[in-house]
């Protein structure tokens, strides 16, 4: 029969907005839970498709810990039609979510290793989904360096988290901004300027990078100087996505779909993809 209702990989599940915080002028953090009560069940680095009927869908990274099962969180910059509409939502609002989708940072493989976790700007939220479980089980890992660069002090996300992580044993949080202001007494410069302060056991070091497209190749150059193996470097790539499930073609890089084969890639594999970074 024609036009029958049925199941669909594109049909979102209903979520309720539990709370909203606005840490910066452009970004809000949304805490939501599925109306069905099911946990999202994501891994570090995964994303969901957020759906507002009448507006559309967009891929949004999860910024909460995989260990948190009562709710999940997304940090959303107001840059497009969907994110603009999201920014108008208030607690209690209901909308749609599909997912989680994509590959994860290999937290088990990272066990016992020194970690360099590098984030630029809005790259911190997806990396937070890795940092939180690392900090929550701190003894499982060696030294941890969190390197974070923002354009300006006003754009620094998760200030309280950054401060708390810096208090943890054997953990160093290094921050920098492209342009300082009267409140800023810290480093000024791009995130790669922080690498001179990093002291790790190089053969036993793993790296995770999330940031704007321009950041990757410069961070990779620093890692090459340090001598970190390409197999130990993981990066999350951003691309346009319409489906999240490897169908719509928008996120394809060479023969991989970022939504399905990524967004987290091992650099030893990504370096062979001509358009990756």
């Amino acid at each position: 029969m024609a036009a029958a209702a049925g199941s669909s990989i594109y049909l979102p599940e209903s979520v309720t907005l539990l709370g909203v915080e606005q840490p910066t002028e452009l970004e809000k953090v949304f805490r939501v839970k599925f109306d069905s009560g099911r946990p999202l069940g994501h891994g570090p680095g995964q994303f969901v498709q957020v759906s507002l009927f009448g507006i559309g869908e967009a891929p949004i990274s999860i910024c909460s810990s995989p260990c948190e099962t009562d709710y999940f969180e997304m940090t959303v910059r107001n840059v497009g039609m969907l994110t603009n509409a999201m920014h108008k939502l208030t607690p209690g609002a209901k909308f749609g979510v599909r997912g989680p989708f994509g590959t994860t940072f290999p937290i088990d493989e990272m066990e016992g290793k020194d970690l360099i976790l590098v984030a630029g700007g809005i790259g911190l939220p997806p990396l937070r989904s890795l940092i939180l479980p690392v900090m929550g089980d701190r003894e499982r890992f060696g030294k941890v360096y969190i390197l974070f660069g923002a354009k300006s002090p006003k754009e620094i996300l998760f200030r309280e988290d950054l401060a708390a992580w810096g208090q943890a044993p054997n953990t160093t949080v290094l921050q920098t901004v492209d342009r300082g202001d009267e409140t800023w007494g810290g480093n000024v410069g791009v995130v790669t300027t922080l690498f001179s302060q990093v002291q790790v056991d190089v053969p036993n070091t793993y790296v995770a990078i999330v940031g704007p497209p321009i950041m990757y190749k410069f961070v990779i150059m620093e890692l090459a100087k340090l001598g970190v193996a390409n197999e130990h470097v993981f990066m999350s790539l951003e691309r346009r996505m319409k489906c999240g499930v490897g169908k719509c073609g928008h996120c394809q890089i060479n023969n991989v779909c970022v939504c399905m084969d990524g967004p987290v890639f091992r650099y030893s594999e990504a370096r062979h993809m001509t358009e990756a970074i």
Binding site: A2, G6, G56, R240, G246, C248
Partner: protein, 348 residues
């Protein structure tokens, strides 16, 4: 594979029976070209016509298709999936387009099965017809001159009149029994006539790619920085006509449409094109494929390298539609041969 023979009259009678019960589409004349369209009488059909403007893909993957219907009234939005499983008979589907559907299956019916495509695809009855090439065809270069599967029934015109009929599926066997009652079992004679048709078909193909299709992924991989791309990108308009007519292109956009009163709406998917400038642009404005040459490289590699590497077969079927549609006469064969010549020149 079971082989039968049927004459023109028997075929017309069978098609009349099918038309009485099913939606039947076939190539029909439209101005100077042919298009796949609904037919009410088999006499309208031109099942051997080559180079329909669009491939029959549009009946299993429509240009615009409703995925979800939603209500915006009430406390929370309500949505339901729309899955169309109306049977349709696609008649006059040539080996290139049968291959094209299989290529799309790899993606849409592979991991994360797409129910919308799947329902249409599984309810599309494929009556394949062999064909004589025109000047744009090059199926023999990409392995789609002949198909062994992907059809319910496959008809090869015979020089002595009528058709040899191959049975490709259980559903095809049932169709043959129920509708093609004039079909008679055939044997080695008809097989030789089939072979004879394919020989004449192969001989009539004027274009060819100068390397085995299995070598193309390697050739394209090495050619990422070739000057050939820059040369053709200079004339390419990035208009996306090639994507629009391709039997293996499946990229899509998703758009919400809301009724005027704001009470309800539909989420639709519409064909998209990797040649359009904004295809790889993200919110915030960064474009991951900003130049015409980057987009040209991407499209051509999708046909001969990326998808071939991923799914084991080229995603160009040699149908020639992109060359027929291109406003500036860019074609797959010329580019492939220029890349091949460039690499052979460097190697010697």
């Amino acid at each position: 594979m079971e082989l039968y023979r049927i004459d023109e009259k028997g075929l017309a009678e069978a098609m009349a029976r099918l038309i009485a019960e099913y939606r039947v589409v076939a190539p029909v004349e439209k101005g100077p070209r042919h298009v796949f369209d609904d037919i009410q009488d088999w006499s309208e059909a031109r099942p051997l016509a080559v180079g329909t403007v669009l491939p029959p893909k549009k009946f299993v993957f429509p240009q615009r298709e409703t995925l979800l219907r939603f209500q915006l009234t009430g406390e929370a939005p309500q949505a339901e999936a729309v899955v169309d499983d109306t049977p349709v008979v696609l008649a006059g589907v040539h080996p290139c387009d049968i291959t094209g559907l299989r290529c799309i299956d790899h993606t849409l019916a592979g991991r994360y099965f797409d129910e919308h495509y799947g329902a249409r695809r599984m309810n599309a009855i494929i009556l394949g017809f062999d064909c004589m090439p025109d000047g744009h065809c090059f199926c023999s270069s990409v392995g789609s001159l002949k198909v062994e599967s992907g059809f319910d029934l496959f008809f090869t015109p015979l020089q002595v009149g009528g058709y040899a009929v191959r049975v490709g599926t259980q559903r095809g066997r049932k169709l043959l029994e129920d509708y093609f009652t004039a079909a008679a079992p055939a044997g080695v004679y008809e097989e030789s006539l089939e072979e004879d048709f394919r020989k004449r078909k192969a001989a009539a193909i004027r274009l060819s790619i100068d390397a085995p299709v299995g070598d193309l992924p390697g050739i394209y991989q090495q050619a990422m920085r070739s000057k050939v791309w820059e040369k053709w990108a200079e004339v390419c308009f990035s208009c996306g006509s090639c994507n629009l007519v391709c039997p293996t292109c499946y990229c899509f956009d998703v758009q919400d449409r809301v009724s005027l009163d704001g009470a309800e709406g539909r989420r639709e998917r519409v064909w998209d094109s990797c040649m359009l400038a904004e295809f790889a642009e993200v919110a915030g404005g960064h474009n991951f494929r900003p130049t015409p040459s980057a987009r040209l490289i991407h499209r051509h590699n999708r046909k001969f390298n990326y998808q071939q590497d991923r799914y084991g077969e080229p995603h160009c079927t040699g149908c020639g539609r992109c060359a027929r549609a291109c406003l500036v006469h860019i074609d797959m064969v010329t580019i492939a041969n220029e890349l091949i010549a460039e690499q052979r020149g460097e190697a010697s």
